[in-house]
């Protein structure tokens, strides 16, 4: 469970990403620190616009530039800062050692190419294999994700949503990446299909010993899939720890608020406890704590200075000055 004993695969230090708009600068990611051990699954949780996807795209270096730019920070992958690599070297990593699954399987596939050749393309780019071998690998990948090999020559529109997402997963895993970035991989799917896909992802991850960053807004999925979790709010990590720690002892008022806004199957409460208000405007972030306006525990001190990340329980970090725990 604990990340310290595992060999480190990825370390992000002080990452800052901004987007330019006509008038303003959007502060999408603000001083993010993250690390990931080999074979580990890290959940990135947060609401729309929190900056989760931007973090993933920064790791793959596929942020559109302009308007976005990595303003500061380092991303160490297997000990090397990939932000300093040439584009040519980065291309050898992208899709090969680091792969990404996008949220919407309907738009992630090329509609005029067969699914088989789309999987084969990734393999052909990164591995020195003959055409026949590439094709064989692609068929193997299809079967690994539970699609019969005979469907190699079919087009995306012939597949259902769940099947398309399996194809996307096969593409991402085709080169046996060290790191898989999965951005809301099951959000577009129905629950019973989601259960199938999550189950498959878990067993493939185990089999290939892939590390994963799983981006989701669904705390239920985090509970089932992740070793550790980082909660993102307004471009910052506000809480980080093992999944058990964060779920059993949520320390940041935002995390607490998230849990309380969820309708629970085991509860008979007649009213939910929503978090009041909205996320701050990312072009105009407050000086102090970003959650200040919505926080039920806010005090003057929170307004003055951005709280530091501190260890509130062993291995469990929270960006809040409140002594954690009390409600």
């Amino acid at each position: 469970m604990s990340g310290e004993t595992k060999e480190e695969l990825l370390r992000i230090r002080d990452l800052v990403v901004e987007y330019d708009t006509d008038e303003d600068v959007v502060q999408a990611v603000n001083h993010v620190d993250l690390q990931l051990g080999k074979g580990e699954t890290l959940g990135l949780v947060g609401e729309t616009g929190a900056g989760k996807t931007t973090i993933a795209k920064a790791i793959l270096r596929i942020l559109p530039d302009p308007p976005s730019r990595v303003k500061a920070g380092e991303i160490y992958f297997e000990g090397k800062d990939i932000l300093k690599l040439s584009e040519g070297k980065m291309r050898k990593i992208r899709g090969n050692k680091i792969a990404m699954i996008f949220q919407d399987p309907m738009t992630a596939l090329n509609p005029i190419e067969t699914v088989g050749s789309q999987i084969a393309e990734a393999i052909g780019l990164h591995e020195k294999l003959s055409k026949a071998e590439v094709q064989k690998r692609a068929v193997d990948m299809l079967e690994m994700v539970g699609i019969p090999g005979e469907r190699y020559g079919e087009y995306p529109h012939q597949f259902s949503g769940g099947m398309k997402q399996r194809v996307v997963i096969a593409m991402a895993l085709a080169c046996r990446p060290e790191l898989l970035l999965a951005d809301e991989p099951t959000t577009a799917l129905d629950v019973t299909i989601q259960a199938q896909v999550l189950d498959m992802m878990e067993s493939l991850k185990e089999k290939l010993n892939t590390s994963m960053i799983l981006i989701t807004h669904d705390l239920g999925i985090v509970a089932g899939m992740c070793d550790r979790v980082a909660v993102v709010y307004a471009g910052e990590i506000v809480e980080q720890g093992t999944t058990e720690e964060v779920f059993d002892f949520p320390g940041h008022p935002y995390t607490l608020g998230l849990f309380q806004s969820l309708p629970r199957l085991d509860s008979t409460e007649k009213r939910l406890k929503p978090i009041n208000g909205l996320m701050p405007d990312p072009t105009n972030l407050p000086e102090g704590c970003k959650f200040y306006d919505r926080c039920p525990y806010a005090c003057e001190k929170c307004k003055e200075k951005e709280p530091e990340m501190r260890e509130y329980r062993p291995g469990h970090f929270v960006r809040c000055i409140r002594q954690g725990g009390e409600k």
């Binding site: 609401e47 729309t48 259902s160 949503g161 769940g162 099947m163 129905d190 629950v191 019973t192 299909i193 989601q194 259960a195 199938q196 999550l198 189950d199 807004h217 669904d218 705390l219 239920g220 999925i221 985090v222 509970a223 089932g224 999944t243 058990e244 779920f247 059993d248 608020g257 998230l258 849990f259 309380q260 806004s261 969820l262 309708p263 629970r264 199957l265 008979t268 409460e269 007649k270 009213r271 939910l272 406890k273 929503p274 978090i275 009041n276 909205l278």
Partner: protein, 320 residues
């Protein structure tokens, strides 16, 4: 004695497609009492949205009966339909596409009042301001356009518009699925408050089972156009009988690291509702299917108020 708000009898909606007859809603029966909520759950393509639309006459029914407050409203003329729509309204799923981008917030909310007629502009404006206050939209937003607002606020506009003519019954078609959890909770609470204040009756359509349990008095589970199970909310979650309901409930990701995990993984995917074979439509994916399943499955009362359409329901009770 509780008053029945809406009753639906043997309701059918078939679509003609090039491949054959698509059974979107097939023989659906239910009754909702005034001030109560019936939750309709199921996966994409199970016919839940079509059901809502047929009830509101946004689509014509193929067969069956719709009774609203005791009156048969299955076939109504234009004038009658207009009157009916004052009492029956809908909140749509996507607050991004269900609002006219060229109309301001107050114009959108005022439009139903204008269409109804009989009010002066000042009266309508007064009413619009009140509605905005009711749904928690700040008065300063009256001249804002939808694109300037976030999803939660847009959905509040949709709710205010639905409430404008004081309806008694509202179809809520996935009203919170496009919203983030913290905002979703705000909107759900608002809808519950409104129900209490105005004694509204809801038909709540959703794919989110945790939301439906929290929100509904009764729940109806649909699969490929048919109702497979129907029961009071707590009862359904405590004692699901139908194998599909069981699988559906077990597939919900629970936000608790200590919760036991025994997901029932179904084989395959939802089949096509075009020219379906007689019998249980879930049989192809059901782990307990027998030849008997190819016979028509009747929705029968297995416990008081608990209906299920599976001939093996009793013997499978203890199976997970």
């Amino acid at each position: 004695m509780e008053q029945v708000s809406l009753e639906v009898k043997n309701l059918k909606k078939y679509f003609n497609t090039p491949k054959g007859l698509l059974h979107a809603v097939d023989n659906v029966n239910f009754r909702i009492y005034e001030g109560k909520t019936l939750g309709v759950v199921g996966e994409s393509g199970c016919g839940k949205s079509t059901l809502g639309r047929v009830i509101l006459h946004l689509l014509d029914s193929t067969d069956g009966q719709i009774l609203f407050e005791g009156e048969d409203v299955t076939h109504v003329d234009k004038a009658k339909l207009r009157a009916l729509r004052e009492k029956m309204q809908i909140i749509f799923q996507d607050p991004y596409s269900s609002l006219n981008p060229r109309m301001s917030v107050s114009e959108i909310i005022m439009e139903p009042l204008q269409l109804k007629g009989g009010m002066s502009h000042a009266e309508m404006y007064e009413k619009t301001k009140k509605l905005m206050d009711t749904v928690g939209l700040a008065a300063r937003l009256e001249n804002a356009y939808p694109h300037e607002l976030d999803g939660g606020r847009r959905q509040r506009i949709g709710i205010a518009r639905a409430l404008a003519l004081n309806p008694r019954f509202i179809v809520c078609d996935e009203p919170v699925s496009a919203l983030d959890v913290s905002i979703q909770a705000q909107v759900l609470n608002l809808m519950l408050d409104l129900q209490e204040e105005r004694n509204l009756t809801y038909l709540f359509i959703t794919h989110d089972l945790s939301v439906v349990k929290y929100f509904s008095d009764d729940i109806m589970v649909m699969y490929l156009g048919q109702v497979v199970e129907k029961a009071p909310s707590n009862e359904l979650f405590a004692r699901p009988y139908h194998p599909y309901t069981k699988a559906l409930l077990s597939a919900i990701p629970v936000p608790d690291v200590h919760a036991p995990r025994n997901r029932i993984l179904l084989k395959g995917e939802i089949t096509s509702p075009i020219n379906p074979q007689p019998g249980c439509r879930f049989a192809a994916r059901c782990p307990y299917a027998t030849p008997e399943c190819s016979k028509e499955q009747e929705l029968r009362e297995i416990l008081p108020n608990h209906y299920v359409a599976c001939h093996r329901a009793e013997e499978l009770m203890d199976k997970k």
